[in-house]
């Protein structure tokens, strides 16, 4: 006897994905064909297991080249912001283009496409994060912090801080120190 079957590849593939992810007890959501959102943080070990389980069915986890390049842009920016000795005198756009071997226009478009923000905004966000860290962990004055972060003046830093967070540096400092007081009382 012979029987004939016809396959619905979409259903089959999604079913395999579901079964394997459930097997590993991973919370997930299938977004579309070939795209799965993992709704929890995976340990390295679990991620490895996932790759191995998938491999048996001919499923490979693809790393997207665009995403990798964007990550490199982010890393380079963080390097500039957090190690302020480096590349201070070069324009960021020139630095990124030279370091990554792509035109700034290309990097800039790609970055916006993947991250929902621009390179310029990302740099500001990182600088303000660094300023927050310095405010909380050092005794540097705001003037010194502005100088460290290569702002032309303390007013410029304050304005950008306020524009980015909606609050002033001193309000920020006051809120975080009050939070710490409460945390200490509760301990």
């Amino acid at each position: 006897m012979k029987i004939f079957v016809k396959f619905n590849f979409n259903v089959i593939c999604n079913k395999v994905l579901e079964d394997k992810l459930n097997e590993l007890d991973v919370k997930f959501r299938i977004l579309g064909f070939g795209e799965v959102e993992i709704l929890q943080k995976l340990t390295d070990e679990k991620e490895q297991n996932l790759h191995i389980l998938f491999k048996d069915y001919g499923i490979d986890v693809v790393e997207n080249e665009k995403i990798i390049l964007v990550q490199k842009v982010k890393d380079a920016i963080r390097e500039i912001v957090f190690n302020s000795d480096e590349a201070l005198n070069i324009k960021t756009s020139v630095y990124l283009a030279e370091k990554l071997g792509h035109s700034y226009g290309y990097l800039s478009n790609l970055f916006s496409e993947i991250t929902y923000t621009s390179i310029e905004n990302f740099i500001i966000l990182q600088k303000i994060e660094y300023a927050k860290q310095l405010i909380l962990t050092t005794n540097l004055s705001l003037t010194e912090i502005a100088f460290n972060l290569n702002y032309s003046s303390v007013a410029h830093l304050s304005t950008q801080f306020k524009n980015t967070t909606g609050i002033t540096p001193s309000t920020f400092q006051r809120i975080i120190s009050k939070r710490k007081e409460i945390a200490q009382q509760n301990d």
Partner: protein, 144 residues
């Protein structure tokens, strides 16, 4: 991204979900009518916790402030980014909620266009914190 709103005003809830529909940002939005309903959901062991929780301050039965305190005292929920979504913009309210652990304070915008702009700003900044391993303890954002 999973978004939750707790607000007792039906118009405000509609306004909110409509804005997200129009933003097309790949978000799933759920709404609750008051603090009791919200906490009942969050307290379920297998509840899918939101990436951002929008909390109205003035709600019957259980206020936004009470929810905020409960959430921040619960280890399982402590990582949720909390956006206070209120008609009040008094400096005391703002500072108090920040001190209690809120991350974002939004004064409810009066028109739809402004609301869309505010929500997309919140989601994209939260996304930056989420994807760039920034220190969430230092995440404070006030939008008026």
């Amino acid at each position: 991204m999973h978004i939750v709103l707790a607000d007792d005003d039906e118009d405000d809830r509609l306004f909110f979900t409509d804005a997200f529909d129009e933003l097309k940002m790949d978000t799933k939005v759920s709404t609750y009518n008051d603090g009791v309903e919200l906490m009942k959901y969050l307290n379920q062991e297998d509840a899918l916790l939101p990436n951002v929780l929008f909390l109205d301050l003035n709600m019957p039965k259980k206020s936004g402030l009470e929810c905020l305190k409960e959430i921040k005292n619960n280890k399982r929920m402590a990582n949720i980014a909390i956006a206070i979504y209120s008609t009040s913009a008094s400096e005391e309210d703002i500072e108090e909620t920040f001190v209690l652990g809120a991350n974002i304070y939004i004064k409810k915008p009066s028109d739809f266009k402004a609301l869309k702009k505010v929500l997309s700003e919140v989601i994209s900044i939260n996304w930056q914190y989420h994807t760039n391993s920034l220190n969430k303890d230092n995440f404070l954002l006030r939008i008026q």
